[in-house]
């Protein structure tokens, strides 16, 4: 990708992403969607669980047994110990990742 084209691609990426983000921010009145809407209430759970699952189970784009699964186990254990703390989940997950990585010979 040439320099000029790369700049255009970034600009279009910014426009696409912003257009998706601004949809419900444009009208002055909040959308007539109640916060009790069941889909919107549970969408954050589905989104973050899906993001975590894809990132931990398929870190290189395909399902594989990698130290990332050790990270998932550690993160879940951290969440079990202190559920409301993101940093405990992350630190426990990093510990699990490194334990798994060392146990499997130190490769990613």
């Amino acid at each position: 990708m040439s320099g000029g084209l790369a700049v255009v691609v970034v600009a279009v990426m910014a426009v696409i992403t912003y257009a998706c983000r601004v949809t419900y921010f444009l009208p002055k009145q909040p959308p007539r969607i109640r916060t009790e809407n069941p889909f919107l209430e549970i969408f954050p759970i589905a989104l973050f669980v899906a993001l975590a699952t894809v990132g931990l189970a398929a870190p290189e784009g395909r399902l594989a047994v990698t130290p990332f699964l050790g990270g998932a186990a550690g993160g879940l254990l951290g969440g079990f110990i202190k559920r409301g703390s993101v940093i405990v989940v992350v630190l426990a997950g990093i510990a699990g990742y490194w334990l798994a990585r060392l146990a499997t010979g130190g490769t990613n």
């Binding site: 983000r21 759970i45 399902l63 559920r83």
Partner: protein
């Protein structure tokens, strides 16, 4: 500066170190993929999407079409995100403020704000703005450091890639309370695993999340 703003900024400080690791990795990997350091940094400022930027870096050699299709697939999740966040921010936001907040609608501050609002945060608009400012400075700054100074860093060797999904796990867990939430989370895991096998990468998360929420929302 409202107290909600300060609470949001403080709340996001917890996420700043792990996010810094990911920003650093994006900067390093972007330059290694052949992108100019200033453009890697500009993407953080103007696109402000870790997943879209990771796809951009990964697909850079594949050309613009692959990158832009990926951006659409990853960007679509922001529509239901904005729909669920906007009602929490009240009716008094001016247009410039709404347009500005929209730029900062990112997974991490969205998750924190939803969680805070459900726990009784009285000023979600101030809270999200405070979290956004810390996130933005952190994200753009660490990407720049990675892009300009990180040539000797190997993100894979350091295991930085595991931090980002762990952050999402840490945001998801406190949101899960009742049976419907557990069912939805289980569905999201299963559908995400199936999506990895049969759906192009850029559509895996959006597809799995929307389908899991659609099915889970019907569960009593």
């Amino acid at each position: 500066m409202s107290s909600g703003f300060r609470r949001g900024a403080r709340a996001f400080l917890v996420l700043a170190p792990p996010l810094a690791g990911f920003g650093l990795a994006i900067g390093v990997l972007g330059v290694k993929a052949g992108i100019e350091p200033w453009l890697v940094t500009a993407a953080s400022a103007f696109v402000l999407s870790g997943s879209a930027q990771a796809a951009w870096v990964g697909l850079y050699a594949s050309g613009p079409a692959a990158v832009l299709i990926g951006t659409v697939g990853l960007g679509l999740r922001h529509i239901p995100m904005s729909a669920s966040l906007r009602p929490l921010l009240g009716r008094d936001l001016s247009l410039p403020r709404r347009l500005l907040l929209a730029h900062f609608l990112v997974d991490e501050t969205y998750g924190l704000t939803i969680s805070a609002a459900r726990n009784g945060e009285p000023d979600p608009a101030g809270f999200v703005a405070g979290a956004d400012v810390v996130l933005y400075v952190n994200w753009v700054g660490t990407t720049a450091v990675g892009a300009y100074l990180g040539s000797s860093i190997d993100p894979e060797q350091l295991g930085l890639g595991v931090i980002f999904p762990l952050m999402f796990l840490g945001i998801a867990l406190p949101l899960i309370h009742d049976r419907r939430h557990y069912v939805t989370a289980s569905l999201a895991v299963g559908l995400a695993l199936v999506a990895v096998l049969v759906v192009p990468p850029a559509w895996q998360v959006t597809g799995a999340a929307v389908l899991a929420a659609a099915v889970g929302s019907r569960f009593k």
